[in-house]
Assembly symmetry: C2
Homo-oligomer: 187 residues x 2
Amino acid sequence: MVRTVFEKADAIALVAEVFRELGYEGASMSEITARTKLSKGSLYHFFPGGKEEMAAEIMAHIDGWFVTEMFRPLEEEEPSVAISRMWETAEGYFRSGRRICLIGAFALDDTRDRFPSVIQGYFQRWIDALAGSLIKAGLRDGEAKALAEDAVIGIQGALTLARALCDDAIFDRTLTRLKLRMEAALK
Amino acid sequence: MVRTVFEKADAIALVAEVFRELGYEGASMSEITARTKLSKGSLYHFFPGGKEEMAAEIMAHIDGWFVTEMFRPLEEEEPSVAISRMWETAEGYFRSGRRICLIGAFALDDTRDRFPSVIQGYFQRWIDALAGSLIKAGLRDGEAKALAEDAVIGIQGALTLARALCDDAIFDRTLTRLKLRMEAALK
DNA sequence: TTTTTAATAGACCGATCGGTTTAGAAAGTC
DNA sequence: GACTTTCTAAACCGATCGGTCTATTAAAAA
């Protein structure tokens, strides 16, 4: 009998991709075991709480990644640096829209009601961090808020359309448009 | 024994709301019967093909509604009239983001692979009809295309964020911003 | 009225669901 | 080497899944 040993970090990353592709309800335990090669024994060893705990830990992991890679830089670094790094981070993370935003996808159906605070906190912090950076860069409060909202909305919408149209180009094109619009507002 | 008689049109509308709230995989037959009060007998009488046929008919119904209420007007009517009617139609249909776009939601997970052509066709026709109207209104080809894409993406993104933040205001605010931006481009 | 048809209610089916348990393999500890 | 701990594999569980079937009802057709 062959035995493969996994780290919990690997388990989180592997299971995350299954949720991303199938959604919370679509990701059955048998699909998760089939796609990740993690047995049920391993999965329930790492996540005694089952699917709900898996999803919670995955969301916490994603949120943590965005905090260090995007939100904290926006909150602490020089606006022009942090903002242009934000566009690069988004482009790299979502891979031309082939990789969706799991937290955004969970928001659309009743999965939202299982994790309302994580979902809300993730997007609120993104918008607030970006708006704060824009204010530091010299924009008025209202304009900064609108531009930040517009950027996050644009990214989420672009992910939906990239998948709907099976069009890799639309996501990068949208990111470029959003970036230019923001730079124009910053003069 | 109480017996309620339904029309197929009612069945489509009722089941559509369940899919909208729970997603394709989340909408189990027992949830559908519980929420719609349609028995399994009735459901399989109207939709012998089961869940897949329900979803297909619902999407066709939604697509047809958008064609008559939004796409055809954009293709045939005076641009300024059709475009401002588009914003009203979107505002009315999505109800401040409390009602999501089912076709957009299906695009995000592997439900897309069950209905790829309907999903792609719906968004492509929306973008094309809007871009065509903008060209008729005097915009250059590239600018019209970008603005149309931007509008549809903005609506989809705003739906995601309205639900994620549990914020009714953000959807209408985004629609207003998109509308003003388009009017500014049309001078 | 009688017959036929359209439609509903819900018991029922095998398959799959999320989750538990048991057995045992690898790795560390002494 | 003996013992303990950590982790994996897979059989197994009751519940629920999507879907079928039968009985019954109401209305249309005759």
